[in-house]
Symmetry: C2
Subunit: 328 residues, 2 copies
C-alpha cells in the first residue's frame, strides 16, 4: 500500500499563479488604474459589485473618421449617472475626456466604440456596505460596431415584439444608463424564435418601450413619434429630435402602441451602435411598402453629415506614427 498522504496530495490540482487566457479580444486600448492596456488586460474581479450586483453606470460615445460625435452629451449623462449612484471616479470631466481620447489615439482606430464605465468596486475590508467600496473607473476604445450590418441597413431590419416588459422606472431609473439587460436578452431570444433579427419589448403599460440597445421611432402620414417613458434617453434619439427640429419635421415623444407600430409607414431605430437604422418587418409583416422609407433615409443622411460638423463633433489627435500607418 502506498502512503495515504502522498496518494491524497497527488489527487489535488495545483493552484496556477497566473490565469492562462486563451480568449480572443478585439484590437483596442483600455484604461484602468492609471494604466493604458491592451483589451485582453481590461478585466474586473468577479468580486466587483459592478459584476455581482450590476452596480455600475456607463456611457458609450463613438468616433467616426477620427472625430468624437457629441462627446459632451455622453459626458453629461455619464456624470449624471455617477451622481445618481453616489459614485466617485476620482477624475474630473476634463480628465475623462483626455483618457477617452488617449484610448482612441493609442488604439489607432479612426472609427471606434468608446466606453466609459464606473463600477461600485469592492470594499478593501470586504464589508458588504457599498459606501465602503472603492469605485472603479474604466474606459476603452474598440472598433466601431453596429446593431445592423450593411445588408440590414439596405433592406431594413426584421424585428419581433416580445411580451417581455422593460424594467419599469419604479425599479430602476431608465435615464441612468445601466447594464440591466436580462429583459432585453429575453426579448432577443423571443425574436430569434420568431426568425426575427432583433426585438422590441413593452413598457409597463403595454406600449412599445425600446429594444436591446436602441430607441424606436414610427412615421405615419409624415408625423414621427417615439416612446416618452420607460426608455433610455439615447443620444442618437436626441440627435433625431435635433435634426427634425432643423428640418421642421413633426416629432413628438408620446406612447407608441403595438397598433401604431403595425400601422406605421416607416419605422427606424436609433443607437450609438449604428446610428439611425431602418426596420422593414415587424412580426413577419412588411412595414409600409416594404422598402426603407424616405424620412428614414433623409434623417440617416443628415445624421452622418453631422459627423463632420464642428458643432456636433470634435477631432482626436492621433500619434504621428498612427496617422502615418493609417495613410499607408
Amino acid at each position: 500500500m502506498s502512503d495515504p498522504i502522498v496518494e491524497s496530495s497527488a489527487a489535488w490540482p495545483e493552484i496556477v499563479k497566473r490565469h492562462k487566457d486563451a480568449s480572443t479580444y478585439p484590437a483596442g486600448v483600455a484604461y484602468m488604474d492609471g494604466q493604458y492596456l491592451p483589451m485582453s488586460e481590461a478585466k474586473i474581479s468577479v468580486l466587483d459589485w459592478g459584476f455581482l450586483h450590476s452596480d455600475a453606470t456607463y456611457d458609450t460615445v463613438h468616433v467616426w473618421n477620427g472625430r468624437f460625435f457629441r462627446l459632451d452629451l455622453h459626458l453629461d449623462r455619464f456624470f449624471s449617472g455617477l451622481g445618481k449612484l453616489r459614485m466617485d471616479i476620482g477624475v474630473d470631466r476634463r480628465e475623462v475626456q483626455s483618457i477617452l481620447e488617449k484610448c482612441v489615439a493609442l488604439s489607432g482606430h479612426r472609427s471606434a466604440y468608446v466606453e466609459m464605465i464606473c463600477t461600485r468596486g469592492t470594499s478593501p475590508t470586504f464589508s458588504r456596505d457599498p459606501r465602503n467600496a472603492v469605485n472603479r473607473f474604466i474606459a476603452f476604445a474598440v472598433p466601431f460596431g453596429s446593431v445592423a450590418n450593411p445588408e440590414q441597413m439596405k433592406r431594413g431590419l426584421h424585428v419581433a415584439i416580445s411580451q417581455t416588459v422593460r424594467i419599469p422606472p419604479a425599479s430602476i431609473d431608465p435615464t441612468l444608463k445601466n447594464y440591466h439587460w436580462l429583459d432585453l436578452v429575453k426579448g432577443l431570444f423571443d425574436a430569434y424564435d420568431q426568425n426575427a433579427e432583433t426585438a422590441l419589448v413593452l413598457d409597463y403599460k403595454g406600449n412599445i418601450a425600446e429594444g436591446p440597445g436602441f430607441n424606436v421611432f414610427v412615421v405615419r402620414h409624415g408625423k414621427i413619434k417615439t416612446p416618452a417613458e420607460n426608455v433610455l434617453l439615447g443620444i442618437t434619439r436626441r440627435s433625431v429630435f435635433d435634426i427634425c427640429g432643423e428640418l421642421g419635421l413633426p416629432l413628438s415623444a408620446e406612447p407608441v402602441s403595438i397598433s401604431d407600430l403595425k400601422a406605421a409607414d416607416e419605422i427606424f431605430i436609433t443607437s450609438t451602435a449604428g446610428g439611425i437604422m431602418p426596420v422593414t418587418r415587424v412580426d413577419g409583416e412588411v412595414v409600409g411598402n416594404a422598402d426603407v422609407g424616405p424620412i428614414t433615409t433623409r434623417l440617416t443622411e443628415i445624421y452622418w453629415q453631422k459627423h463632420e460638423d464642428p458643432a456636433w463633433s470634435s477631432p482626436i489627435s492621433y500619434p504621428v506614427a498612427s496617422q502615418e500607418s493609417e495613410r499607408a
Copy 2:
C-alpha cells in the same frame, strides 16, 4: 525647434502589457478555464456580456464546519437557471460539484461562501448575437460572510422600508438567480439615509418583497408568513419551510403588507449569507417587545443544528496538509 515627431510621441503614455493590480482580495480559490487560481486572478473581461448586459446566472452555497449545506438544492437552481438563459457550461452536475469541492478544499476554508457562475461570455467573432457567445463558467470559495454581524445577530437588525419596487416578474423571472440589483442598492442607500442597516423593497403591488440578498418573514400570534411573489425562492427560505414543517409551526407564503410588517411580533430575514437573522426595528420603530423573538431564536438554533445532519449537509475532503494546518 525640436523634431515634431519626437515631441508628439513623448506626450503619449505607453501601453502596459500586463495590468498592475494593487487591489486586495480575500483569501480563496477560484476555478476558470480548467485552472484553479488565487482570487486575485478571478477576473472577467469588461467585454463579457455577463458584465456588459448582466447576462449571467449564479448560485451561492455555503460551507460550515467543513460541510456543504444543501448543495443539491443550489445545484438544482443553478442548472435550472442555465436552462432558462439557454446557457451551456460544458461540464455536468457531478463535475460542477467536484470543482466546487476542490475550490473549498484548496482554499482550506472550513466555513466558506462558494459561488458558481455562468456568464454569457463573448463571441469569438465579436458578433452582437448572444447565440454566438462562448459561455463562461466560474466558481470560487471565499471566507463565509453574513448580512448581519455578531452584534446585529444578538440585538437584531434595523431595517427601513424603501419605496423602490423590486424588478417585477414580467421583466425578469425572480426564480432565476441574477445580478440585477440596482433596485436593491437604491433601497440600501435609502435605508442608510434613514440610519437603518439594511432595506426592504416593495413588490409591484405595493407589498413587501425582499431585501438585498435576503427573504423576509413576519410572525404574528404564532403564525409565520413570507411573501410569495416577486421574490427569489431562497434556499434558506426553503429551509425555514422545511423546519417549520418538522416542528408543526404554521407558515404560509402570501402577501405581506407594510402594515403586516409593522404589526409583527417578530421579524426575521433569511439568506445563505448568514442564515436566519433577527430584525428588531423597522423604520425606527421597535418590533414586538424589541428583543429577538422566541420563534426566531428556535428556528435559528435548529437551522444551525441541521448543518451537522447528513440529510442536509455533505462533508468535504480536504488535502491532508490543510487539515493539519487547521488543527494546529
